[in-house]
Structures are given as structure tokens and as C-alpha cells.
Symmetry: C2
Subunit: 158 residues, 2 copies
């Protein structure tokens, strides 16, 4: 088992923080989106691949949980788990940490769809991309499902 | 009934688009986050109120659905529905449109918590803020619940 992917690191930029020098809620999503871009490169859907193969991923839906603050200038790191896929969809889960602390700062679940850019229209993954996805999944078989996966937002019913 | 709040308009900035001149997924969240800032001003939790009263809202959890592309330079507008509240939490739903088109581009559900900044710790809403929230809710009693509210992400089970 290879476990979670550790692909993405990124420093908090000055324009991303609020009056209190804390990372703004929206910019957690900027980091998670960049982590997906890094994942795409890892599975053969980077910029060069998009130009050569005409395929890319679009985001259908995301869910974020904000657990702890992140301060301006901190280096963040994202660990990534693939929760599943079908012919054209990829279900991804990111864990966000900062500096060398083991405390989880935020989580992000994403549903992505493979797109043939010549349409553009949704299309099955290219065989070499599918093989990469399945190889990652094979290395993550023993991982527990993240506690925040599949969450819905709501207040307790009265 | 006053219906949905139409509080926020914002133009897509050049740094927010991809190679294809489409709004990046993360920057939908920047617009939704700014819409919540506008809502906060509307209910008495703007920057001046924060300094005077020592209360603000933090984001606990968000969910976004991406429905249609938005191009660079477009003016976006957000319509807002309050789905509920308790003593210290506010459940908000934003609808995102662009230009004069009636086509829904994206939706965003948010769970926010009221914070007493002197802790900082979660605290009940100030009475004047609670009154504003309840006045908005009273004007939205007849609105249907948004189709994307309470969604969870997942692939169909095999």
C-alpha cells in the first residue's frame, strides 16, 4: 500500500488573508483547486497532456469543511485520497495541513468529470489515465473512508 | 414576502480565469465568499460592526455545485436565501448568475457560526443581528427549498 498521495505544497500568498492575517475561506479552495491541478498532472492530464490528448477534468461539485485557521505566509501541504471513479467521473478527497503540524486544517471533497475538449463534452477517461487512477486506488485500498466524506450541510431538525 | 435577497454584484477579474477564459472553480467561491461579506454588512456584522461590537461570522462548511461556465469580464450577481438559523449558526444559500442571463451558473450552501472575537469563541448572535436574520426569514417564508441544498457528494453505489 502506498497510502495517501503527497503531491502538493503551496505557500499562503499575501492577498489571500483577511484583516486578522488568517487565510480567507475562499482561498482554502484555491489551494485545493491547485492540488487537483497537481493530481491531474500526476494522472496524465496536465497542461501538456490536455494540448496533446484533448482531454481535461471539469469540477462538478465540491464540499469543504473548515477546521482550523491558517496564517499568512504558512506553507500548506495537501494529502490526497481517491474515493472512487466510474467511466468518466473521479471522486477525490483532499486533506489540508500547514507547516509541520499534524493538525488537520480543512478537508475538501470533489467530484470531477472527464471532458473531451473537442466538444466540449463528457467522455470516458483515456485508457492511460484510467490505468493511473486504478494504480492509485490499488495503493489506497486499506485506507479508511474520510470522516467528512459524503457530508451534507444542515442544522439539526427542530 | 420580499423573496431572495439581491445584495451582491461583482465582475470577474482577469486573474480568476483559466487558459480558456473561464472562471476557475476556486474563484466561484471567492465570489460567494464576497456575497457573504455583503450579507454580513446587511445584518449588522460588517467591518465597522465587527470593530464596534466585537462579533463576526466564521465559515464552518460550504458546498458548491458548478452548473455552467462564466467568462472573464462578465458581471456576476448573487441572490441569497437564508435556510435557517439557531442561537449561533446561520445556514445560507447563494444562487450565482452572470450578465442578464436567467441561467443559473452555480449554487453555494454555507454554514456559518457567530464568533465573539474577544475569545475568539462561538457565541449567540447579538439581539439586533438576530432581529435582522429573522426579518429576512419572515420575508422568505414562501420560497421553495433550493434543489441543491443538503446535497452529499458521491458516485452511485455499485
Amino acid at each position: 500500500m502506498t497510502g495517501l498521495l503527497e503531491l502538493h505544497r503551496e505557500r499562503v500568498q499575501p492577498g489571500w488573508v483577511d484583516y486578522n492575517n488568517h487565510l480567507n475561506d475562499a482561498y482554502y479552495m484555491v489551494i485545493f483547486s491547485n492540488a487537483t491541478t497537481t493530481l491531474m498532472e500526476h494522472i496524465g492530464l496536465g497542461e501538456k497532456d490536455r494540448l496533446a490528448k484533448g482531454h481535461s477534468l471539469f469540477t462538478l461539485e465540491v464540499h469543504l469543511n473548515y477546521l482550523r485557521e491558517i496564517k499568512g505566509g504558512m506553507e500548506t501541504r495537501v494529502e490526497t485520497q481517491i474515493l472512487g471513479h466510474d467511466q468518466k467521473r473521479l471522486h477525490v478527497f483532499h486533506f489540508l495541513y500547514a507547516e509541520d503540524s499534524p493538525e488537520l486544517r480543512a478537508t475538501n471533497e470533489q467530484m470531477l468529470v472527464n471532458i473531451d475538449m473537442s466538444g466540449p463534452k463528457s467522455a470516458p477517461f483515456l485508457p492511460e489515465v484510467l490505468a493511473k487512477i486504478e494504480a492509485i486506488e490499488a495503493g489506497q485500498v486499506g485506507l479508511p473512508r474520510p470522516a467528512n466524506a459524503g457530508r451534507a450541510i444542515g442544522l439539526p431538525r427542530k
